[in-house]
Symmetry: C2
Subunit: 765 residues, 2 copies
């Protein structure tokens, strides 16, 4: 075409060239495409017949340009370095101008319009087709980049708070060469490595941190959680091995035992002289631990207990430290005196001696390879009539007196059992805090990678960091916001736990159960998303998301299965609710709701449910009211529903089962409200303006994204109307876009040392 006589005689024909190039380069020319083009050619009054013929000829599939010819066309267009890329018609006109020595093509308006109509009919309504002829085409998307609006060091101070020094100390320890990561040859090596690491930590005093000073500790329980959390930037097997030894084994002796046990054991536990286990779960009883079957039968004659496993499915299972290293264990067993069952109590039982030889009557089976945490030696334990002295009953809450009578300040077996479990609630704080650290590592890796990794870009422009893509922001920014939300909420939970009065016990237990479930589900979700967001690189173990994900995967089911825990939270909420409601009917419920959430009902007015005003959408009060409304409405409707079913004659167990899915939402909505409250409080108490603004944005993102996830429910209730949920979706997109600029700074503020992060993809620059 370019070399034809016609083109050299009439340079105006160049107006067609960009269109023809695009047709042959991009289209599978259909019959209708050809018709459009034929109409266009026919419409142009200025064309001579032979010119029309030439143009139509070049639409004939049998006359198509060769690969070389197509390249020549393109080079020809690009050669003029076109500026006006509105569409292919304007580009064509520019081309004509060059060939006419700078004179404009005097085309009639209607002829020009025919070109633009043709472009539209061909579906070329955007300007992408034109951009490819320009070099260095830049766009808003291309230009977005990281520019932290605050000083990450200051943000880190806010996150670390009063424990900054201890956090740094732990990081320094972990940065010693002994803690370098390496691929393990096999499980045995890995387990030995993790034990060695634990010994170093014990030597540095971390193991006994929570124990009283008299037993070599610092009496700093908050510090213990901080250590767990900071260790979690390193190897998670180490964290769990550490937690089993000093948390589960140590704390069970500390909280369930008395002075004599503390004297006898605590120091050696803290120094790892005495590795031990926490043996509660049995094969047949995991969630329902009240049903444990191991027995501890009191022998009057010699004042001993016989610890016994009645059958294979009653073995203690998944017990950390059991397969290899544990020498003693806190064993949960039903106390039997004279044939009477006094419920589950706890006993210190020997497993093996210092040389590793099993105690007579103890049988151990290795749990073998696991999805993760293979540095922890989990095992099954069977006791075949193992005798222990009377004083090895952990007797803080119950004991057997000199005459062989059962004694307890808590008469009810159930209440005693749950009181004992209540003292161990710390595990449900340590786990989500550990999981959050793992999620922070994953997010830091994925966000740093996405900030550097480029892929695709505008036609004629360079490739763009994948974090500039809205979808990628949608995947990662809400998770980043939620990681901050959880950070403050878990800090709050820890404080409540450490300062709790007796009356607050049940509230804190429910809160811990719910936070554990909410937090660990977050960890699993976040790390799964990070894996996928890093593509093939995320699949390579060197980039650590593999271990982070697999090691923490069990967090959702240990220390209590999450769905069971959420029901536990729901039941505690329902109990509160039932107490207030007594005999439920519509009026009292309405009164209850209006009393408890005065503002929410007034909000359900026609103006507010439709409001899309930006200021309103970003208003903390709107967010919190929406969360509170949901929480209260769900608990009320769950209560009503169960009540109605029971009134209709359904067994209450069945009624609760019918509402089970509903109950999980009761727990979830309660926890979400608590989390948002703490995040908002953290924002409000932040002094530094820049940090405060960034946190405020994150907090809004957390709130609106959560509302968006529940928008079906809000719409069903009439609490929000479609116009508003759409505006919320748009606002979430906008917040993701804005947060993207702070994203790297926000992960820097986690303060995870590079050597612990380790993943090569986090350090592409």
């Amino acid at each position: 075409m370019l070399n034809s006589e016609q083109f050299s005689q009439n340079p105006n024909l160049y107006i067609f060239l960009p269109l023809y190039y695009t047709l042959w380069e991009d289209f599978n020319l259909s019959k209708s495409d050809i018709e459009v083009m034929n109409r266009l050619v026919d419409s142009q009054s200025w064309l001579k017949d032979e010119e029309s013929d030439l143009l139509k000829e070049y639409l004939n599939p049998n006359q198509k340009p060769s690969a070389q010819e197509l390249k020549n066309w393109r080079n020809h267009i690009q050669f003029i370095k076109p500026q006006n890329l509105k569409n292919l018609t304007t580009l064509g006109l520019e081309l004509v101008k060059t060939h006419q020595n700078g004179h404009d093509f005097k085309i009639t308006e209607s002829d020009k319009e025919a070109f633009e109509i043709a472009e539209k009919e061909l579906g070329l309504i955007f300007n992408e087709a034109a951009y490819r002829f320009q070099d260095g085409h830049s766009t808003i998307t291309s230009k977005q980049e990281s520019k932290s609006s605050f000083d990450p060091k200051l943000m880190q101070e806010i996150l670390d708070g009063s424990k900054m020094e201890l956090i740094q100390k732990v990081k320094d320890t972990l940065s010693k060469p002994e803690f370098d990561y390496h691929q393990h040859e096999n499980i045995s090596d890995q387990r030995e490595q993790v034990l060695e690491w634990c010994k170093i930590l014990a030597k540095e005093g971390y193991g006994s941190w929570a124990f009283p000073r008299d037993y070599g500790g610092r009496g700093d329980m908050e510090g213990y959680f901080t250590i767990m959390e900071t260790l979690s930037y390193h190897d998670l097997s180490l964290v769990i091995k550490f937690g089993v030894q000093f948390g589960l084994w140590g704390m069970s002796v500390y909280f369930l035992g008395t002075e004599k046990h503390h004297q006898k054991y605590l120091k050696d536990i803290g120094s790892l002289e005495l590795p031990g286990c926490f043996a509660m779960t049995e094969t047949n009883h995991g969630s329902n631990v009240r049903g444990l079957e191991t027995t501890a039968t009191y022998n009057h004659q010699d004042k001993t207990f016989t610890i016994h496993t009645p059958h294979e499915k009653a073995r203690k299972e998944y017990i950390g430290n059991a397969a290899l290293h544990g020498q003693k264990a806190t064993v949960f067993a039903k106390l039997i005196i004279d044939g009477e069952d006094y419920g589950v109590n706890t006993f210190v039982v020997p497993l093996r001696n210092k040389e590793g030889e099993l105690h007579p009557g103890v049988e151990i089976e290795d749990c073998g390879h696991k999805m993760g945490l293979n540095g922890v030696d989990n095992g099954l334990i069977a006791f075949n009539k193992v005798i222990i002295p009377k004083e090895d009953m952990l007797d803080k809450f119950a004991s057997v007196d000199e005459d062989g009578n059962f004694k307890s300040t808590i008469s009810s077996d159930n209440k005693r059992f749950f009181t004992m479990l209540g003292t161990l609630v710390g595990g449900r704080i340590g786990i989500p805090r550990s999981g959050l650290s793992a999620a922070k590592s994953g997010l830091t890796i994925a966000i740093r990678y996405a900030n550097q990794r480029k892929q695709f870009g505008p036609e004629g422009g360079g490739e763009v960091p994948i974090l500039n893509y809205r979808m990628h922001q949608r995947r990662l920014m809400p998770l980043l916001a939620k990681s901050y939300a959880l950070h403050f909420a878990l800090k709050y939970l820890t404080n409540r736990f450490l300062t709790k009065s007796e009356e607050e016990g049940q509230e804190i237990e429910a809160l811990a159960a719910g936070m554990k479930a909410y937090g660990t589900w977050f960890t699993t979700t976040a790390l799964q998303e990070c894996r996928e967001a890093c593509g093939g690189k995320g699949y390579l173990s060197e980039n650590r998301i593999d271990d982070l994900k697999n090691d923490t995967d069990v967090y959702t089911t240990f220390e209590g299965d999450n769905t069971v825990l959420m029901q536990l939270v729901a039941k505690s909420r329902l109990t509160e609710f039932k107490k207030e409601m007594g005999d439920m009917n519509v009026t009292t419920i309405f009164n209850y709701l209006t009393k408890q959430a005065k503002t929410t009902f007034s909000e359900k007015n026609p103006i507010i449910v439709r409001s899309t005003d930006e200021k309103h959408l970003l208003d903390f009060e709107f967010h919190l009211n929406a969360f509170k409304y949901r929480e209260r409405a769900i608990v009320a409707s769950a209560g009503q529903r169960i009540k109605r079913l029971v009134d209709e004659g359904m067994d209450s167990f069945d009624a609760v089962n019918v509402a089970q899915h509903h109950l999980v939402n009761v727990g979830q909505s309660y926890i979400e409200r608590k989390v948002l409250e703490q995040f908002q409080l953290a924002v409000e108490t932040t002094q530094n303006e820049a940090c405060k603004n960034s946190l405020k944005q994150l907090c809004s993102l957390y709130a609106l994204h959560t509302i968006e996830q529940n928008k079906g429910w809000y719409l069903e209730q009439g609490y929000l109307e479609g116009v508003k949920t759409k505006a919320i979706r748009k606002m979430v997109n906008q917040l993701c876009w804005e947060t993207r600029q702070d994203a790297k700074g926000l992960t820097d503020a986690f303060g995870i040392p590079d050597n612990l992060l380790s993943a090569p993809i986090a350090f592409l620059d």
Copy 2:
């Protein structure tokens, strides 16, 4: 209390015993609880003063019963084997009757009412508190069990269809002792094992199944997919190694090469004499493969190509078979002739000889340990000016002629490249089919376990299989339904692919891209849920969910990142839409929608959007219309939105980015409609009534659960109202409950041999 003078004198006092027991056993007696009880005592006209005093005394925390006393109360109540367990008051009356030698207690109505009010005020509105005194308390929940409504063998025949025989043959092969699972010592062992397995499969002819008979094959491409799918009940590393060798390497030679390549290579590929690789992805170009940087420069003088890696980030990465076994590779590289770039073409390039020595100029790095698929030796390949003869260019679509000129029937580099990729679309069929098999294994394991595993139960009753819990059903039943939906949809995709005409090419490519994304996301979600649903047992590698999950995790990002693929689908849908729309405005869009989906708009009438009629909710037409409406409304609004942004002056690249999240939904909703259509068709064509009914139920569950997941959107649109979405939620619960009974049969119908399933928790009975 029991031994008091008062009780022996006035047996009517026994009416209080169940209430007192419950208070001391369950309550942390609060001030208000005590007030309630005091009021109750005061209200009873028949009580003597000293009796009232006794009762009040027993509310004093300083006078609380001992553990032993509490047990005595309980034993006392249980001893009478109470029948009337409506509440604690009726139980108390029954107790009195026993002590009064069968005479009823003549209590006044108002006194009795005071008891019942007190129970309510204490929050004891359900009968759980009473049930604990009865043995063998059974409930609807306790009684639910597996009872297949159809013959699983017949259902299996429906699923296996015409490939039943081949499926059985592959299962038989996999059931040979050579294929027994065992824990691998290390990666090297695992890789050797997988290679050995592949050799056995090759020997049995599976490797060349898809190749023409002339080259040792069966010419049965459908069979190839069936083999991949069936192998996926076994080790996934084996599947991928198999797929790399016979699918990627073999099919690339088959589809991109010509006769001479087939003759030279196919037979040896099929027999695994010639292990090879498919080397497309580079470190810097994964999703955006058009940007590959490896070059193949034509040398006129000796008619050869020089294959070269320009820099480290342009190395071929994640290439299966590269680290150890591959001898040759199909390499994607930009063809350069005389400095002109002719786009990406493919070449057969040597990597190492039969002895494993690397070819000169080839450098390989092992990708190392991965999250999963460690039986596959992925590697990085760098080419340092490796020379290959001209005839090793795979020249189906382009070639260099004797004079060194580029020749192609497809002039456009882009179009040629995408045509080449189009021939390889089979990978996007094999992967989701493999993933679906893995999900089926996981679901079979999780459902069988939940069917046997018991935990918790009603007060006074035995523990209940966890699959009887509604929440557990909610977690697993929709996934089971979706696995069936995908089964039929993937079968349909395979048929469309195998029988496609040239015009259908783009449609099938988009369909395959979308099905790959939809299917593999399902696999990841399903296996994550199965892991959690099996608790600690799910975390043990012996139960296989570990490997199933980790091996398939990469499926969401290989053969194309899922979010990128969904956008590809969306763009194909938008192109269709744009073509029809031309210049978009509200009227034409309305016309378009009404034309395309006549029924949907008429459905948006006030009666139907609120209909909660069961028959309507289970109506296939309602389901499909809802899916279609969503699909069309989303594509129209995405198109409008992008158009509006561009009209407002936004760069089209930015506009598409703004709508990216929206576009993923365009892809998703299209795929969902296609999947539902195929599932409904499968139901309608099923002959056996019992199977048909069960499939119909599953299909409704899939449809309604999908609508429920998108209910926020439907409510926003006014297509459904809250009353209807609530009814849908209820119906989903109901369908889960009903499906639970068929669940075991539905997993039996997958026909996964026990030895391949292997997980001990799948065989508790």
